[in-house]
C-alpha cells in the first residue's frame, strides 16, 4: 500500500479569482509541508480554472491538480466527492486542507466518511506533533467557550480552516511547480442534485469581512430603524455593519451580516458592539478584532469581559452623542 505523504489544499475560486481563503490555506499549508519536509499540492476544481494554476504555485504550491468539467462549474456535493476521491488516490496526501466556507463545511465531512477517515471543521491552528508527526488540530468547541486539540488516527487527515486563521505568502511569480491536468470522468447519472438557481445577496458598500471598522448591533437595537443609526456611524468610519444572530433572524438586517460561529469571521482594527451581550458563539466570530468597544446597558454583560473600552447605559442615548462627537473630532 502506498504511503500517505504531503499536504493537499483545496483552492476555491470565485468570479474567476482565487479566494482569500485559498491563499490563506496555501500559506498555512506551505508551512506545514516545510515542517514535515514533504510537498504541498493543491487542487483547482471547476470550469475555466486552469489559468489560475501558476498563481497557486506563486502562493506556495509545488504541484497543482486541475480538474475541469462543465458538470463541476458550480459546487455540488456528489461530483465534488468523486473528483476529490480521484485526486486523493492520485496524490495520496496525509493531510487535506479546505476552507471553513459553505463549500468546505459540506465537502470535508462527507469526503472524510467517504474515505473512511475523519475531519475536523473550523480549525484555528494546525501544527505537526513532533513526536508522532500527526496533525494537531485546534478548534473552538462549545461555541468558543473552549478550545480542543484533536488528532485524527486515520489518513488522510482532513481539516477545514477558518477565515483569517492563516496568512498568505507574498506571491512569487518566479516560483516553479508542476501542473497536472486530471480528467473528471464524471457520470452525470451519479449526481443526485440539481442547482436550479443561485441567488446572491447584494451588499452595498464595504464588505464585512474586509472592513477595518465594524459597527455591530445586537438584539437590544430593537429593529431596523436602530440599525440605520449604526449604518450612519459605519459610513462615517468607512466601515461595515455587522450583527448578532437575532437581528438577522428577525429580518432587521440581511443574514449575510451575521458575525459568529455560524456567520462571518471578522478581524477589524475596531469592533464596536452595540447592545450585544457577547455570547461565546458571537465572540467566536469577532474576538480576533484588535479593539473591541462595547455599549450595553447591563454592566454584567459578557461583552465587557472582552472589550477594551465600554460604556454602560442605553445605546439610544449614548450612540448619537458618540457619533456627533466623533464627527467633530474627525473634522477638526
Amino acid at each position: 500500500m502506498a504511503e500517505y505523504k504531503g499536504i493537499l489544499v483545496h483552492c476555491e475560486v470565485a468570479e474567476g479569482k482565487l479566494t482569500s481563503m485559498a491563499t490563506e490555506l496555501l500559506g498555512g499549508g506551505r508551512k506545514l509541508a516545510d515542517d514535515l519536509g514533504e510537498p504541498l499540492s493543491a487542487v483547482l476544481i471547476g470550469s475555466g480554472v486552469a489559468g489560475l494554476a501558476q498563481e497557486v504555485i506563486a502562493f506556495g504550491a509545488d504541484k497543482v491538480y486541475v480538474v475541469e468539467d462543465a458538470l463541476i462549474k458550480d459546487y455540488q456535493t456528489d461530483p465534488y466527492i468523486m473528483v476529490m476521491e480521484k485526486i486523493t488516490k492520485e496524490a495520496m496526501p496525509q493531510v487535506i486542507m479546505l476552507g471553513q466556507t459553505s463549500i468546505g463545511r459540506d465537502l470535508a465531512p462527507r469526503l472524510a466518511f467517504h474515505l473512511s477517515t475523519t475531519a475536523n471543521l473550523g480549525c484555528l491552528e494546525l501544527a505537526v506533533d513532533t513526536e508522532t508527526k500527526r496533525l494537531l488540530q485546534t478548534k473552538p468547541v462549545y461555541g468558543g467557550n473552549a478550545l480542543a486539540i484533536f488528532i485524527s488516527e486515520t489518513d488522510p487527515q482532513i481539516a477545514t480552516v477558518r477565515a483569517k486563521a492563516m496568512s498568505p505568502l507574498e506571491p512569487d511569480p518566479a516560483r516553479k511547480g508542476e501542473v497536472i491536468t486530471v480528467d473528471a470522468g464524471l457520470a452525470p447519472s451519479l449526481i443526485r442534485t440539481t442547482v436550479l438557481e443561485k441567488v446572491p445577496e447584494e451588499v452595498a458598500g464595504i464588505k464585512l469581512e474586509d472592513a477595518e471598522v465594524v459597527v455591530a448591533g445586537g438584539r437590544g437595537i430593537g429593529g431596523p430603524e436602530g440599525f440605520q443609526q449604526l449604518e450612519d456611524l459605519a459610513k462615517l468610519l468607512k466601515g461595515a455593519v455587522g450583527a448578532t444572530r437575532p437581528p438577522c433572524d428577525n429580518g432587521w438586517v440581511p443574514t449575510g451580516q451575521q458575525v459568529g460561529l455560524t456567520g462571518k469571521i471578522v478581524t477589524p482594527d475596531l469592533y464596536i458592539a452595540v447592545a450585544v451581550s457577547g455570547a461565546s458563539q458571537h465572540m467566536s466570530g469577532c474576538s480576533g478584532s484588535k479593539n473591541i468597544i462595547a455599549i450595553n446597558k447591563d454592566e454584567e454583560a459578557n461583552i465587557f469581559r472582552e472589550a477594551r473600552y465600554g460604556v454602560v447605559g442605553d445605546w439610544k442615548k449614548i450612540l448619537p452623542a458618540f457619533t456627533e462627537k466623533l464627527k467633530e473630532l474627525l473634522a477638526g
Binding site: D74, T77, D106, P109, A148, E153, R192, V195, T262
Partner: protein, 267 residues
C-alpha cells in the same frame, strides 16, 4: 405524505452565561454547570421545526432519534411535545463517548432498522462540539444524497426542493428522495410545545435500542469506535480589562468615549 426522521441530542445549555462554563482540564472534560438544566441541541430543534413544517404541508410521520447517556426525559421528549410522533433512544453505555464517526455510524444503523423514510434531518452543527459532521456522515453511510445548510424545504413531485445558505446568498437545489438534509437557523424559530403535545409526550414510551438491536458491534460505536483523539481541552485566556468610560449623563459618556478613542489613537 412524508416519513421524516430527525436526529436530536441533549447538550448543556449553550446560552448559559459564558462565566458558568467550566472544564476539568485533567480529565479533558466539560463540567456540566450546576443549576442549569441541559437542553435539546438548538440546531436539532431547528431540524424538528423543519420536520414539522413538512408535516404541516404534506402530512406524514416524524420519528426522532437520539443517542446519548443520561438523557433527561423532559429534554429528549421535546420533539414529541412539539408534534413528532415517535422517539427512539440509543441510551446504552456502549454508545457513550463517541466522536462524529461512531455517532453517525450508530445513528445510521438505527435509521436503517427504522426502514422507511423519505427524509432524514439533522442540525447543521451541535452546540457542544460544533462538529458539523454527523448529518453528512449518516448520508455517506446510508449512501444517500445530502444537502447541508438548508434554510427552506418544499416537497415537489417526489423530490425535495431546498434553499441552501451560501457565503454570499443562497442557492436553490433539487434533490432526489430519500435524502439527508442538515438544517440551518434560517429555517425559522422552532415552535413552542403545545399543552396537548406535552400531554401526549408524557404518555408516549420511547423505543429503546441496544447495540445488538441495530446490529452493531460494541467495537464500532462509542469510545471504542472513535477515529479521533481529543488530546487537550482548555479555555482560552481572556487578557485585558475593560476601561469603563463614565460621564455626567449617558450623552456625556458617549462623547467621552469618542474623546478617549481619539486619545488612544484608535480613531
Amino acid at each position: 405524505m412524508a416519513n421524516v426522521i430527525v436526529c436530536v441530542k441533549q447538550v448543556i445549555d449553550p446560552e448559559a452565561p459564558p462565566a458558568s462554563f467550566k472544564i476539568d482540564a485533567a480529565a479533558n472534560k466539560v463540567v456540566p454547570p450546576t443549576g442549569i438544566s441541559p437542553v435539546l441541541d438548538p440546531y436539532a430543534e431547528y431540524a424538528v421545526e423543519a420536520a414539522l413544517k413538512i408535516k404541516d404541508t404534506v402530512g406524514g410521520k416524524i420519528t426522532a432519534v437520539s443517542l446519548g447517556t443520561g438523557q433527561l426525559r423532559d429534554v429528549v421528549k421535546k420533539p414529541l411535545s412539539m408534534g413528532a410522533d415517535e422517539l427512539v433512544l440509543l441510551e446504552d453505555e456502549a454508545f457513550a463517548g463517541g466522536d462524529s464517526w461512531s455517532t453517525a455510524y450508530a445513528l445510521a444503523m438505527a435509521i436503517k432498522k427504522l426502514g422507511e423514510y423519505d427524509l432524514i434531518l439533522c442540525g447543521r452543527e451541535a452546540s457542544d462540539w460544533n462538529a458539523g459532521q454527523v448529518g453528512s456522515g449518516i448520508a455517506e453511510i446510508l449512501e444517500l444524497p445530502s444537502v447541508t445548510l438548508v434554510k427552506k424545504i418544499e416537497i415537489i413531485d417526489g423530490k425535495a426542493r431546498v434553499e441552501r445558505a451560501t457565503d454570499n446568498g443562497y442557492e436553490v437545489i433539487e434533490v432526489s428522495l430519500p435524502a439527508l438534509l442538515s438544517i440551518s437557523h434560517e429555517i425559522g424559530e422552532p415552535r413552542y410545545p403545545t399543552i396537548k403535545g406535552i400531554m401526549a409526550a408524557k404518555k408516549k414510551e420511547p423505543i429503546s435500542w441496544a447495540p445488538g438491536d441495530i446490529g452493531v458491534e460494541p467495537s464500532q460505536i462509542g469510545v471504542a469506535g472513535r477515529r479521533t483523539k481529543l488530546t487537550k481541552l482548555f479555555q482560552p485566556v481572556r487578557e485585558g480589562k475593560c476601561e469603563i468610560i463614565e460621564g455626567e449623563s449617558p450623552e456625556d459618556a458617549g462623547a467621552n468615549l469618542a474623546k478617549r478613542l481619539r486619545e488612544a489613537k484608535i480613531l
